[in-house]
């Protein structure tokens, strides 16, 4: 198993501080990046580590850089979350290297679906929507801890 210590409370606090601002920039109610058509909550426990690593990589590589706003407070909180994600992604990467974080077919399929949802929108809308869905990821991680 892969045990990663992360300060969930700090990431939560950072996101909660900007949640209303970020979600108000996403006008599309009828599409979700993370939760539809397949919910994260349906992912098998054996695949959880892998999909968590894939999602942290997704946010670091694709999402945060396209979320810069005109609001300094929001930008600072995004920086805080992004640097926390980078720190956690590194630890998850170490688990992958030690083969403690195996990717099954299901997580590969699920992550493909997430990327398809993401690429279905223009990059700024997709990034802002993904950032606004951070609590979906955090809720799922806490529940499956």
């Amino acid at each position: 198993t892969c045990r990663v210590s992360m300060s969930m409370a700090e990431i939560r606090a950072g996101f909660t501080a900007i949640k209303a601002n970020i979600q108000s920039r996403d006008p599309i109610r009828t599409l979700s990046i993370l939760s539809h058509p397949h919910s994260l909550h349906k992912v098998k426990s054996s695949d959880r580590c892998c999909i968590t690593h894939q999602l942290f990589t997704f946010y670091v590589d694709k999402v945060f850089k396209h979320c810069r706003t005109e609001d300094s407070f929001v930008n600072r909180k995004i920086s805080s979350i992004a640097n926390s994600f980078l720190s956690v992604r590194r630890k998850l990467g170490q688990c992958r290297e030690q083969n403690n974080c195996v990717c099954g077919e299901e997580s590969t399929e699920k992550f493909k679906q997430i990327l398809a949802n993401y690429e279905g929108l223009n990059v700024t809308s997709a990034a802002m929507k993904s950032l606004g869905e951070l609590d979906i990821l955090l809720d799922w991680m806490e529940k499956s801890r």
Partner: protein
């Protein structure tokens, strides 16, 4: 959808008020309108492609609508929207922000029951239940929804006015070695670390330890 020309001011402050995941949509009447305004309500599961009308909240003149049943899956997030009608004209649809039942609900304090002997008090705490459609439906304790749930318990010695705090994860607490014939008042709070959710403290339950035999 064949709607009338909408020049009526909009309903204001459309928002969810949620306690123990009883999720009720609330709003204020449009500015400057008195009686005679009627409302329609619809809701949507975030990420799912359709808005759903709430029949029980169609053409209502109150300014709330209970959507607990429609928003009971706390692994989903929701939007709700309200439209006002008056004398043949209407307002725009006015939406809530995105509602996450798991993080946006408030939690009631735990139920506290206290018993005593001459030298100790026993405290049993019960976390509130998640809202349910009917009494027959199976109860779900908020303990199951928030695995990291803990209790902060305050015990006040009414004679010395000293207050002690206990932080416990299980729901029972025995405090031995107390003074006989003394009033102790107990109140408790629920504390969830992440997401950060704290209930208020329950009202105080006072009990007198028995007199020395």
């Amino acid at each position: 959808s064949g709607e009338l020309y909408c020049s009526l001011p909009n309903p204001r402050n459309v928002h969810f008020e949620s306690i123990n995941m009883k999720n009720v949509l609330h709003w204020s009447a449009p500015e400057g309108t008195g009686d005679g305004v009627f409302y329609k309500v619809k809701y949507a599961v975030y990420g799912v492609g359709k808005w759903i009308r709430k029949p029980e909240c169609r053409n209502i003149n109150r300014t709330w609508c209970d959507l607990s049943s429609e928003t009971s899956d706390y692994e989903e997030q929701y939007y709700a929207s309200v439209k006002a009608f008056l004398n043949g004209t209407c307002s725009d649809w006015m939406e809530t922000t995105r509602f996450n039942p798991l993080t946006d609900t408030k939690i009631d304090p735990p139920m506290v029951s206290v018993s005593s002997t001459d030298r100790s008090i026993s405290i049993i705490l019960t976390a509130p239940e998640k809202w349910k459609r009917s009494p027959e439906e199976e109860s779900v304790s908020l303990l199951q929804v928030y695995p990291g749930l803990q209790y902060n318990v305050s015990v006040l010695n009414k004679k010395t006015k000293k207050r002690w705090f206990f932080s416990i994860s299980n729901n029972t607490l025995v405090v031995p070695w107390l003074e006989p014939g003394t009033v102790y008042c107990v109140s408790a709070q629920i504390h969830v670390t992440t997401p950060v959710l704290d209930s208020g403290f329950s009202k105080e339950h006072c009990i007198t330890t028995l007199k020395d035999k």
